[in-house]
């Protein structure tokens, strides 16, 4: 359709706008709640042709219905009632749907994220058939009517048996043509993100919100990079357990913190479910940096070195600042893994720091 071209131009403009405002969207977490199945609905202010027009204060209008002066206009959202006579509604925020894929692209462009190099695992592949040509033999169900007709017509004309005034074309078996197919093997990259989060008493709602926003973007980026991305969720205080996404973001426990419990569970998960030859593995851990004891921290380091790092693409630790946490854990990690490329740490002071931390985590292209 002709409109496709104009629609394409519009989408391009939208993309530009989203990109312009991306940092704002990230730090306010505005998009997280607007995620549908495959699309995110993004509010974009003012994609509009500016004109000389009256200011908002003087708007309002005439309508009909019940009510006394001073009554609020019932129904509808606020700001919905600005319809003006003979004119389209005044201000509206445009909502555009953007696929997660596109959003990840924009994120990648804006933060200049490198594409991830697959660790070269082509062992799992997906086979599917695709029609790719024509051949002379095949099942009747795949007979190509048009090609068959053409062959028959060609034969009849060349043998002189075709009569234009009685255009009946009868194919003989030799004329028949069938679709043929090829089986295509497509390598699929599989990846799993194992999210771990400290839900001890010192992690407040604000801290969890930060984790939620950050994980949304990590998900978006990694699903763009890998087909078939899985997510697993582990929460821990002094003990760790696996939960679903919903519970992950909404659980609050009290009690102490033993990070090693989560790492232990993570290691078990990798060992049992994700053979490292076939999977790209991404453990992400978020906490406020408060661990029970130095002994436990050492246990963590031990676990990482032996049971996690050898199998994972990278290990990411994000430390969310909280008024209660000591923030010691990140220092310990940095000390232990100073030279280790596979460990990425990032401090996230507040929502504005999310952008930087996403870049820390994903900027290495691993």
């Amino acid at each position: 359709m002709k409109i496709d071209q104009d629609h394409g131009r519009f989408r391009q403009i939208v993309r530009g706008k989203v990109r312009q405002n991306l940092r704002k969207y990230i730090s306010t977490g505005e998009l997280v709640g607007r995620k549908g199945k495959d699309v995110v609905s993004i509010p974009i202010p003012q994609i509009d042709i500016p004109r000389f027009r009256f200011g908002d204060k003087q708007t309002g209008g005439v309508a009909q219905g019940n009510g006394d002066p001073g009554d609020p206009l019932g129904g509808g959202e606020e700001g919905d009632g600005q319809g003006q006579a003979g004119k389209d509604a005044g201000d509206h925020v445009l909502e555009v749907d953007i696929t997660l894929d596109e959003l990840a692209d924009i994120l990648g462009e804006e933060l200049e994220l490198p594409n991830i190099e697959d660790r070269g695992k082509n062992k799992i592949s997906n086979a599917h058939d695709r029609y790719s040509g024509i051949r002379r033999v095949g099942p009747e169900s795949l007979r190509h009517f048009k090609r068959t007709y053409r062959e028959a017509l060609r034969r009849m004309i060349s043998t002189g048996s075709y009569k234009p005034d009685r255009p009946i074309v009868v194919p003989v078996p030799d004329d028949k043509r069938y679709r043929s197919w090829k089986t295509i093997h497509e390598p699929i990259a599989n990846a799993v993100i194992i999210y771990m989060m400290d839900v001890s008493g010192s992690m407040g709602d604000e801290q969890k919100e930060i984790v939620r926003i950050e994980s949304f973007w990590i998900d978006a980026w990694l699903s763009k990079q890998y087909k078939g991305l899985e997510s697993r969720f582990i929460i821990h205080d002094a003990v760790a357990r696996e939960v679903d996404r919903e519970t992950f973001f909404h659980t609050r426990e009290s009690g102490g913190t033993m990070i090693s419990s989560a790492y232990k569970l993570c290691a078990q998960m990798i060992a049992s479910d994700y053979p490292p030859g076939e999977w790209n593995i991404y453990p992400f851990h978020f906490s406020d940096g408060d661990n029970w004891s130095m002994d436990d921290t050492l246990a963590c380091v031990e676990l990482m070195k032996k049971e996690i790092l050898p199998f994972a693409n990278m290990f990411a630790y994000g430390q969310v600042e909280s008024p209660y946490g000591s923030g010691q854990f990140i220092k310990d990690l940095r000390e232990q893994f100073k030279a280790d490329e596979r460990v990425t740490t990032s401090e996230i002071r507040d929502k504005d720091a999310i952008v930087g931390s996403i870049k820390d985590f994903l900027g290495k292209g691993k």
Partner: protein, 520 residues
């Protein structure tokens, strides 16, 4: 249109209906151009609607935006477009495939109302391509009125013109310029086609020498001494200089800013062409904006009469009523031009049927007498036909909105209450309702902007003025629009207006915005 010609022709059973309905409508006095109905799928419908009814318009992203919104709201089941009709001779109307027969009939009746309106309302004379402008008496028409309104062709030409410029100069460059022109799209003079004002600036190079020079009072014998010759000469020269400086361009404030820019801005050829296209199309849509209430009201009046009296049969009447109720629905804070329009025509019809007009009626204070007032004149039909020819929304409301109608229709004004942070009903007083309606209809609710000086401060700057009528301009939009003016004019530009009661000038010099107090 040809690309639709193959697959959009009306099926036979609808052609039969069309003929029947047209016959009935003519019998009741409607007078319309020939109508070509076409049947579209929903996505074609959305496409055509996005282009404002013209499938081959110039390429622009805002049509794509429009399409996305229409398509989405259709997919979510929030709305669908039943019909669309184009002011063209012959008129084209689009029916949505998959609508029920009752709905299609309803739409056909509605469309005939519109086309009758296109042909007969005086505002639409401005879209006659073969008219000799200005049209000083819009009612004077040839006996067989068959104007050239081949706008579909014209818009298609516009489309290929702009597409050609895009090919030659690059899409981005041309599109950016189109954006700027669209910012100025509403700066035209809706009454230009009807005004007798000379199109060419009058040049008054008449003798202006012999004017009195102010002299000091002196007795005759002292004259030579008190007002010496040199002094008089100097005064004369000063006067002449002042006059010259005063001779502004334009001579009087010009509402058709677009025309002024076309004639005076240093545009490249393709730019001039683009601006011309935008201006032509802006003028095409003026009559429809001037008569939204009247036009929709008229079409609704006729679909309702045709359907309920002649067209629909008994099995269809419930479906009809359901569809009709959807069109007439009102909601808090929404003004439904269909509803108000049709009710006002009915109100007028009833008043003229019962003789509820004129001095006697106006002077009567007896409520009871007024309630039972019926002079059995039967002039209603004649009156509403006259109204549909001679009025536009502003005069329609101004003349026929009555206190009785306001009460009957439960009209109120609403506005934003800053104190309660919400929209509230403000008043049900007749005067308030009428004032607000007229305010919003006057100049389509847009501010009056005129060019006053093309050489402001003798620096070649363009000065526009906003005639402040009580409401301030929206700042951010005004600034961006001013930028568009500058990009077309290619020199700094200013706009005088009022901000919080103080006269100011917004100025943009190509890189920076300033707001300075202004004294004319």
């Amino acid at each position: 249109m040809s690309k639709f010609a193959l697959n959009t022709a009306l099926p036979r059973y609808l052609r039969v209906e069309q003929e029947r309905i047209e016959g009935i409508a003519k019998g009741l006095g409607l007078d319309f151009f020939p109508v070509v109905f076409e049947m579209l799928k929903y996505d074609q419908m959305n496409e055509v609607a996005a282009y404002g009814g013209f499938p081959s318009r110039y390429p622009h992203w805002r049509f794509g935006m429009e399409y996305e919104q229409l398509a989405k709201s259709y997919e979510y089941g929030l709305s669908k477009i039943y019909e669309m009709v184009i002011n063209n001779n012959p008129s084209y109307a689009y029916l949505l495939e998959g609508n029920s027969l009752t709905e299609q009939k309803l739409v056909m009746c509605h469309v005939l109302g519109h086309v009758d309106f296109f042909k007969n309302n005086f505002c639409f004379r401005a879209t006659d391509l073969d008219a000799h402008y200005p049209i000083l008496d819009p009612l004077k028409r040839p006996a067989r009125y068959d104007p050239d309104r081949r706008w579909i062709d014209k818009m298609a030409n516009h489309g290929s013109r702009i597409a050609r410029h895009m090919e030659r100069h690059g899409v981005n460059k041309v599109e950016a310029f189109v954006d700027q022109c669209l910012s100025l799209e509403n700066l035209i003079d809706p009454w230009a086609p009807f005004s007798g004002k000379a199109r060419v600036e009058e040049v008054d190079e008449g003798p202006n020498e012999d004017e009195e020079v102010p002299r000091m009072r002196a007795k005759e014998y002292m004259e030579e001494f008190i007002n010496p010759r040199e002094y008089v000469e100097a005064q004369k020269k000063k006067q002449a200089d002042e006059k010259k400086a005063e001779r502004k361009h334009p001579a009087r404030p010009e509402r058709d800013v677009l025309r002024f820019l076309l004639e005076n801005a240093p545009l490249e050829r393709w730019e001039r062409d683009v601006l011309e296209v935008i201006r032509d199309e802006a003028y095409y849509f003026v009559p429809q904006r001037q008569t939204k209430i009247m036009n929709e009201g008229w079409a609704s009046y006729w679909h309702s009469r045709l359907m309920t009296e002649k067209v629909a049969d008994a099995t269809e009447i419930i479906d009809y009523a359901d569809a009709n109720a959807g069109v007439m629905a009102t909601a808090p804070g929404r003004f439904n031009p269909y509803k108000i329009g049709v009710e006002l025509y009915r109100h007028i019809e009833q008043r003229w049927n019962k003789g509820r007009f004129g001095k006697e009626w106006e002077d009567c204070d007896d409520i009871d007498e007024k309630k039972n007032w019926d002079m059995k004149l039967g002039l209603g039909m004649k009156k509403i036909f006259e109204v549909r020819s001679l009025y536009n929304d502003v005069t329609f409301i101004d003349e026929f909105l009555t206190p009785e109608f306001c009460i009957e229709q439960n009209l109120y004004t609403f506005g934003f209450s800053g104190r309660n942070d919400r929209y509230e009903i403000e008043s049900r007083q007749f005067k308030d309702v009428k004032d607000k309606l007229l305010f919003q209809l006057t100049n389509f609710g847009d501010p009056y902007i005129r060019v006053v000086d093309a050489n402001y401060a003798n620096r070649g700057e363009l000065l526009l003025t906003h005639e402040h009528t009580g409401a301030d301009l929206r700042q951010d939009y005004a600034k961006e629009t001013l930028q568009a003016v500058v990009r077309v004019w290619k020199r700094p530009a200013g706009l005088t207006t009022k901000l919080d009661q103080k006269p100011v000038m917004l100025r943009y010099d190509g890189s920076e915005h300033t707001i300075v107090p202004y004294r004319a």
